[in-house]
Amino acid sequence: MQAILDAISLGGTYALAALGLGLVFGVMRLVNFAHAELITISAYVMVVTNDLPLLISFLLASLVAALLAILTELAIYRRLRGTGPAIMLIASFGLSVGLQKSYELIFGALPRSAAVAPWMTGSFEFAGLNFTISSLVTVAITIAILLAMGYLVERTTLGLQLRAAATDFKTARLLGVRSNRLIGSAFAISGILASAVGFILVVENPQVDPMFGLNITILALVGIVIGGISSLRGAALGGFIVGFILSILNTFLGNARVYAYSYLFLAVVIILLVRPGGILSKRNEMERV
């Protein structure tokens, strides 16, 4: 039971990471590798402000991640709009490495650590089963954020514009959708989602180094590809599947867990062979991908 809860918890965390990436991809067709550094900076902020109340620390981390996301959009991506996906991709690589090195200069190359929300590391028994508090809290946070995102995307004007822009940005602009404002909003929301991921990760692993957010970002990218790269639902679902499978493999493979990634990518290949455009893709999305 705990293994399933852990898998749901990790799946949810990956879903949040994938959703942040998917939002930006939707409006800019940009695979933003520097999303990893948004997760990292929020984890650093929470470690550095660990003496403050948890909520204040988290809000500060969200603010910093959102501002950094907007800054990267203003300073780099906005200037490169229209140059083509390859150049944008390379720029995001460059930005990712540049930010990692900046963190190294600011926070040092060695991990910075602090017990963020230590009460979450405990466990309790219920109906004869043992549960860790962090898994339950993570699942609760994930569900709350996914519901909030669902509301934002499905029920608000901003969400409608995000969905339209993800399908056809040119036509959305012809209808009056302000491109700079929409893209800025997508980056800010992706920063806030990254801070939620950073919080969940730093509770589990309080050792923050400059590459802290890299692993989950790469796997979340795999998630959005298998979920359906042009759909936010697909991105979240794909991220969840990757996290879920990885957690289950790590639990049940025992000493063979070193092969967990091999099995994960085997599963990914099989999914892509059956659904080349991703699980939730439609034919036109497949062509675009």
Binding site: T157, L160, Q161, R163, A164, T167, D168, K170, T171, A172, R173, L174, L175, G176, V177, R178, S179, K282, N284
Partner: protein, 238 residues
């Protein structure tokens, strides 16, 4: 004063020029047709006016104010809407959601509901199919949705790029009869078409564009002379 005035417009893509000094003007409540063969630059002209393609030189004035160099999202707020070629409705969104998106470019948000009611009155199918996914509509219904979506922004000038594309002849006549109603309500309309006969008979004046230049201006009377129309469309050798 002309509601839309295009002067010596030159535009293209990168180093390739497509339009070479196109000029015309449109009076309030007037309809203008633009016809020409494939590659003549008709769609580029629409995109350049709507701000989708940057001008290399020349100017576009809407109600006397320059709109050249403005972004598409600003141009629609100033009162010029484009119904793009191929309709470009959002197939995954509902009919209502498509119309709501059209309201984004509307300046007077207080009267949004009246605008929605007005287009639903004009195109009743959008009322009966309000919660349908737009991609499930027929081609003619999608064209009506694309026009309605542009109309809810309350444009003074409505540009339509090939509204008859892919439609059956009877459906085309329906679409054009709706356009007559829209013009009667006071909106000026510019229609780009390959069907020269249809547009020349419909619009108060029609420009023939070939090789990025205006080659001739026709009136509905010219639609009756098939030979003259063909000669104007294809050039003197036709």
């Amino acid at each position: 004063m002309a509601i839309l005035e295009v002067k010596d417009l030159q535009a293209g893509y990168g180093k390739v020029d497509v339009l070479f000094g196109v000029s015309f003007s449109l009076e309030p409540g007037q309809s203008l047709g633009i016809v020409g063969p494939n590659g003549a630059g008709k769609s580029t002209l629409m995109k350049a006016i709507a701000g989708e393609v940057a001008l290399k030189s020349g100017s576009v004035h809407l109600q006397g104010s320059p709109i050249s160099g403005k972004k598409p999202e600003d141009v629609v707020r100033l009162g010029l809407s484009l119904v793009p070629e191929g309709r470009q409705i959002f197939g995954g969104l509902t009919v209502t959601e498509n119309l709501m998106l059209g309201l984004t470019g509307r300046r007077d948000k207080a009267s949004s509901k009246q605008a929605l009611d007005q287009v639903r009155g004009l195109f009743p199918v959008l009322n009966t199919h309000a919660e349908y996914q737009a991609g499930m509509l027929s081609g003619g219904q999608q064209q009506q949705l694309a026009i309605a979506r542009a109309l809810v922004a309350d444009p003074k000038v409505l540009l339509l790029d090939e509204p008859s594309l892919g439609l059956a002849p009877t459906v085309i006549m329906d679409v054009f009869s709706k356009l007559k109603e829209i013009i009667a309500l006071g909106t000026s309309v510019v229609i780009v078409e390959q069907r020269a006969h249809l547009v020349t008979a419909f619009a108060e004046k029609t420009l023939i564009i070939r090789a990025g230049k205006v080659q001739a201006t026709l009136t509905p009377e010219d639609a009756k002379d098939e030979v003259a129309l063909r000669r104007a469309y294809f050039g003197a050798g036709a």
